[in-house]
Structure formats: C-alpha cells, structure tokens
Subunit: 222 residues, 2 copies
Amino acid sequence: MSVQQTGSGPKASAAAPITARRAATRQRLLTAAAAVIAERGANGASVEAICEEAGFTRGAFYSNFSTKEDLLYALMQDKHQFLLDGIRRILDETAHAPVPAGADVIDDLVDKVLAANPVDRQARLMETEIGLYMVRNPEQAPVLQQVMQPFHDELARLVMEGLARAGRRLTVSTEDALTLLIAGYETGTTHLWFGPHPGEQSELDACRRALTLIIKSMSEPV
Amino acid sequence: MSVQQTGSGPKASAAAPITARRAATRQRLLTAAAAVIAERGANGASVEAICEEAGFTRGAFYSNFSTKEDLLYALMQDKHQFLLDGIRRILDETAHAPVPAGADVIDDLVDKVLAANPVDRQARLMETEIGLYMVRNPEQAPVLQQVMQPFHDELARLVMEGLARAGRRLTVSTEDALTLLIAGYETGTTHLWFGPHPGEQSELDACRRALTLIIKSMSEPV
DNA sequence: TGTATTCGATACAGTAATGTATCGAACGGG
DNA sequence: CCCGTTCGATACATTACTGTATCGAATACA
C-alpha cells in the first residue's frame, strides 16, 4: 500500500525531509491502525493500542501524527491512493491489449480491479468504522471534503475512461454514478463483517456481479 | 416502543416484580441510549453520557442494567419487538380487509410496514453501531444468537404469512430470503448516515421500491 | 570515525470513565 | 398514616488513556 507523502492530512506540510526510517515507522503505524480499528472500532482503538500493535510506544505516534484523526485521514488517503493507482495501472496495461476472446470489456475491467484490491473482513470493517467516525464528527466536514473531493474526481475520471474503453457513456449524472458504484461495493461486501465464510469466494462474486450490473445499467453503448 | 420485560438480556430473570417507576426509568434509559449511541457510537457512548441524556445518574443505570452490553441487547430486543409487533398488527388489520383497488398486495404491505417503522438517521446509525459492536465481540456470539434466533424465526414466519396473503411462495431458501430482505433494508437506508437531505422522502421511497422488488423477485405466484 | 540532528522511548501530570458501597427519599401495602 | 422496601443519588477507589516535556540512541553526513 505504502503511499509516501509528506503531510499526514490535507495540510500538506511540504517542507519535511523524510528519512527512510521515518517512512517505515509511519507505515507500520498505519498498518497497525487498520488492524486495531477493524478489531475495536475507530473509537475503541486507543493510540496506546495502535502503538502496541505496531511495536512502538506512543512517542513514535505523536512524532508522526498530531492526533488520531490525523492518522484516520492518512489511512483513508492511503486506501484511496492504492485504489486509484490500481485502476490506473489496469487501464494502462489493458490500453492496447485486446480483450480476452468472449469476454466483455466491463466484466474484464471489474474483475481486474477487484482482484487488485483484496477486500477482506478487516478492510471492510475499517472502512465502515472510518466512515462512521467521519459522519459523526461533522465539525470536520470541510477537512473530510478536502480529502474526498480529489478522490471522487479522479475516480470519476477513471470510470469515464473505462467506459470509453468499452465504447459506452453514462446515462446518469457523474455524481449519481459514483453513488451507485459505492453503494454497490458496500452492499456486496458488508456481509464480510461476519467473518470468513465457506461461500466467501462466491460472495465476492456477488460483489463483482453487482458492480458490472450497476455499471451497465447506468450507461449505454455510444 | 416500550417492551416491558423482566430480564434485560436473554438471561430471563423471571422473579423480579417490576414497579411502574422502574419500568419508566428503564425505558428512559433505553431511549437516551439510542440517541447517544447514534451520536457517539456504541463505544463512545459512556454510561455517564447515557445517564446524563436520560436525566439520571449512573446509580439508576447500574440498578437497571448490569453492563453496557446488557443494555445493548435490551435495545435490540426492544427494536425487534417493535418491528414484529408492527408487522403482526398490520397483518391482522388487513386480514380480511380488501386491498385498495388497483394496489398490489405486496406493495401495500411494504408501505404499511415502512410507515409503521419510522426509519431515521438516528435509528439507522444506532442499528449499524449495535451490529458492529456485536460483530466485534464474538466471544458473545452465543448470547447474540439467543437474541437473534427468535427474531429471525418470527420474522420469517411473518414474511411467509404476508406472501401467502399475496398468493405467493418463496423461490429461495428462507434463510436467503431474510438475508436479501435485510440487505435491501440496509442498502436503502444507509444513506441516512449523512443526515437529512432534501430528497429524503424520495430516498425512503427508494428503500420501499427496493424491498418490493426483492420480495417479488424471490417469490412466485402459487 | 566524529558529530549534529532526527526520531522514538520514558516519565509525568491531568482527565474521563468504570464499578462498588452506602445513604436517603419515594413509594406501596397495611 | 406509617413503616418496610425499593430505587436512584452520591462518594470513593481504581483503571485507562491522553498529551507534553525530556532524554538517549540511531542515523546521516562529512
């Protein structure tokens, strides 16, 4: 995952020279936070517990993040970056490659994107937790907006590009399209709350099918 | 809502004679808890805060509940009871009444049930929070099971009865049917996280449409 | 290798929440 | 109206977490 980035939040403190050691510490803290948050919730995850999970003391934490919220935003950005990078890469790789015989372009792209973004119980729980945490602290709505806006914009751009690749165009507003996509993703993955299941593979298939269905029903051939 | 019940959890301590005063206190605590949990999350909702919201001190709390979990289970049961009672009542009332001219039986029932169960931001946030809280404490899975099983059973029974009323029968397993219904409900309501919206009414309509669609697609005329 | 600086550990004070033990007031039965 | 019981308030000890200030070790750079 590892997004190297100076500022931990939207506040982009561009001046800090980052050593490799610091970057590694930061990353270990982020990874640990994801685990602890999934397990205990964003509220229940104390800075203490996150540091323990990462094998540090709180000194390391406060040296890298100003507050827990700061870390949450960093986590979101990390995930967003990873997702966007994955989609971009897939679009690049398939730019001039022919679609596998007999396969639909959309199906193919959805498959690849989902494969590149492993969705597991921990990831899903963490996403929900962070979402709730944000929703619950509306005083930070502007900051959240600053984090989400670029993500939404870029995601929209990539979706459009994917559609163009498939020779399609949206029949609904871009905004609605994103809402639908995200809802589809969440619906298809929330069952993961309840842990790994015998039929898990097929349930991720359900997510895949839901997404392709949504994409096709909100667009039309050019 | 008010479900009067001796035990606060599945542990059914049948021996306590409940005074009206006690029942009222208990109810006020439950109502306050719903509000505080929606606002702060299940973890963030301290016993202290719940009591303050209810206008009591913690003395009242510990006199009525042994622990916060105890209260959470009571809250779930309360909601379940309310939902089931509502459905039962609607089925009873419409038992021999003719369906309004031009209306579908299923549409009619779904409308009535949703109308009887106001779904608002607070309710939805609280449901999510409690769900997460439960999921996160798997050591209590058996207790949760004890609470959920009767609810699922009775809900399934009522759904079957409603279907029979409409001259339909399930084409999927009962278990799958419940999963689909609950997923539909959650999908249709999770947007409420983000607060009241201009289009809120129409979005509850979306929930209604989703539910009728799901019901019809998982059953067939007899 | 020597040295300046960065980074993370440690110690400390302050705050919030928990659960228990006890007390006094409201309430119901007679 | 009175008395015994119930119920909720208060006070206390304890625990967990936070944030800051300081110190020592690891690291980069010459």
